[in-house]
Subunit: 430 residues, 2 copies
């Protein structure tokens, strides 16, 4: 069975007529025709006309925080875990607060974590990377060795856990996009192409698969086809300009662009080249999708096109009528996002959102739609399209093909119900 | 006097013949022809063949750090200030550790700080932005108001202090690129075009200048021509995806792309529209360039093209002979970097470095050159060119035109001396 069922299927077109979209907005909101609405009172208030304490007294000195941290007023913008999801927090997950972020760069401090044996603290001077198996010349590298290789490069990629949205297969469950879609982050990586290292070792002609292995207590392993390894995988030591964070694999991880996150082995200590996949635990018992008829989809590597409206959402309700910014994220493991449609009336009418650049392949893409809200209920959805022509399906379309046994690869359309008071809920409509 | 003296001047071409460059490398190093050099020993060592503690024991749980921080092994990668530079650390500066970063994104925790009255802690619910002066409709905005405006966008820009490199006008002084060139950072900003706000208020026909004012105790002000304000300035509340940091203007700052950093007023509380510049302290007594003949260059807004080799550099010496990666940053306040040349023999031979994307206008651009080092001394320099054709000048060329009275706008070529033991020093050659 294809893991790309929707490819080439029928692609509904959004109604791009603004006039018609406005007229048909039965749910009580409309995309704003212009910003010409009074956003602010016409007269000053005491908070601007009177001297405040921060005008009166000296602030913090430049020596206050050699490594800075967020304002105390932003203490709610943190990774959160869900206690009942797993038995042990060392083999668990937490979630990126995507409802409270903007743009396409995820700050390192809030990139979600998934560990199979906890995040180890590794002294980089004692870390080694070995290449062995079907190679001409087995090699061991120090971190210093790796940083001397020619071909160093920087690339922005999203990383999504295969289980992102997994709790939603059986119906709307977690009330917040941090929890339904927060197993994702998007950073700029610094490192070298994996091909450079493999070429240095010399892959034998029967070397068809590469197995990265982690140095953590779980010794995470996955099988990667040599074509992917040679095409765009990277071995990296930095994210967003600074060293990898401990929980993201410090000092070394592998980057497998567009493919499910568990393959991006952290604390990378070994690359074995073989002539067939290893069929280890994390690609058989786990990260395999059980179908309704008892068969299984395996090696479901690629993360299909997906999108989510991050604002409004249950953790970020609407606070005012009138102009509001609908915002969200879209991505595809197959290429570049070419279009995102949004609806505020549960799919009766769609309009193309504005993609805000940079729009890069295998990266999160930010989209916006400027709306006018008159206070009536809205059913908000988004759907992404990538440059293969694939259109993000509904959850029901996915369930018809895959059943509901698996927690993996749910890229179905999400619905938020915005109530008259602005509060927003996770719902499903059919 | 033009503040762009070199524009249209003679542009030396680098020797792009690799063969000739290699042959002429009298200083004992050469750009590597390939990576085919043994980087690592051919046999395993105990650090990879033996089980380590991090393989044996569970690591940190996902609940350990709701907001993450760097590894303890990276404690040296911090902002640093220079105690003797200023009398008060509330009106002072610290420096980005650019020698320890890579790519083009500066992590928020290490973005350099420059305060004129310390970094105030402002409650965003009490923060207001006023627009007044020559407008049809004076307005006051809350933070919530601003976030409801249509046209929200994200852009990556460098911010450089006009005094970056200022201590070097009179000769090589500070021993590290963090101190010579670290008054710079490069982040992705989220906000709205300033034009959107000005249009909402309605600028009168005689409104030719905009004065942003900070809410800190220094009440920082600068005069910005209306053309620039309408062209590409932004009012922003987020950097690299999350809220502005306190020391970068939380909750609101103005972005003035390509122009000197002091104009990017932080803790932005007011925008006044006027018919002439205000000639306030920070654009007359300060941030004005005194020339040798007693005249002054004023309104030297644009940051001219500049580059710096960050590795090797005094804080990041060379550790091994053989292959090494020469790395650096280039930028221009006039547009996009089109070329960076590097030399390892003090300017006898130049070669074009490899620009590593994304290469964006008014953004830091990363460059690399893969070198082979045989252990002899090197004199390393870089020079940047932008898409106006401007080529970064030498310090002596700048001094001839400007004298040495000012500490501002030193975009001259920097020289590092790499000694036989790999230690690297700040030097000048003529």
């Amino acid at each position: 069975m294809s893991n790309h069922e929707k490819k080439g299927g029928q692609v509904p077109q959004p109604d791009l007529s603004r006039r018609r979209f406005l007229g048909a907005a039965g749910a009580g909101a409309a995309v704003a025709a212009s910003g010409g609405v009074a956003f602010a009172q016409g007269k000053p208030d005491p908070l601007i006309t009177e001297i405040q304490d921060w005008n009166r007294y000296l602030g913090d000195s430049v020596a206050a925080h050699p490594y800075g941290k967020p304002s105390k007023f932003e203490a709610h913008v943190v990774r959160r875990d869900v206690e009942w999801l797993t038995a042990s927090r060392e083999s668990s997950i937490n979630f990126t607060p995507i409802h409270a972020l903007d743009g396409i760069i995820t700050p390192n401090g809030v990139c979600f974590e998934r560990h199979h044996g906890g995040a180890p603290e590794i002294d980089p001077s004692k870390h080694r990377l070995m290449i062995n198996g079907l190679v001409d010349k087995p090699l061991v590298f120090t971190m210093e060795d790796l940083k001397r290789f020619p071909g160093r490069t920087n690339k922005i990629f999203f990383l999504e856990c295969a289980a992102n949205g997994g709790m939603e297969w059986k119906g709307a469950q977690l009330n917040g996009c941090q929890f339904t879609h927060g197993m994702i982050h998007n950073v700029m990586y610094t490192g070298i192409p994996l091909k450079v290292l493999l070429d240095e070792a010399g892959v034998k002609t029967n070397g068809k698969w590469v197995m990265p292995e982690g140095a953590d207590s779980a010794a995470m392993t996955r099988s990667i086809p040599i074509e992917k390894a040679m095409k765009d995988c990277m071995v990296v030591w930095a994210m967003n300009g600074e060293a990898l964070r401990q929980e993201q694999g410090y000092p070394l991880r592998i980057v497998v662009p567009g493919w499910e996150g568990n393959m991006w082995v952290k604390w990378l200590r070994r690359l074995e080249v073989g002539d067939q996949p290893w069929h280890h635990r994390e690609e058989t018992s786990k990260y395999t999708d059980l179908l309704a008829d008892g068969r299984a989809r395996r090696f479901t590597w690629i993360m299909d096109a997906k999108s989510i409206v991050t604002n409004p959402s249950p953790q970020a309700p609407l606070k005012s009528k009138g102009p509001n910014v609908l915002s969200g994220l879209a991505w595809s493991g197959r290429g570049t996002i070419t279009r995102v449609d949004v609806t505020i009336d549960g799919g009766k009418n769609w309009v193309a959102a504005r993609l805000d650049g940079p729009v890069l392949p295998l990266s999160l893409t930010r989209f916006y739609a400027d709306i006018e809200w008159d206070g009536r209920e809205m059913l908000i959805q988004s759907r992404a399209m990538d440059d293969t022509g694939y259109l993000q399906p509904t959850k029901d379309e996915l369930r018809k093909v895959r059943g509901v046994n698996s927690i993996y690869h749910n890229n179905g359309i999400q619905t938020w119900l915005v109530r008259a008071n602005g509060e927003t809920e996770n719902v499903e409509i059919s």
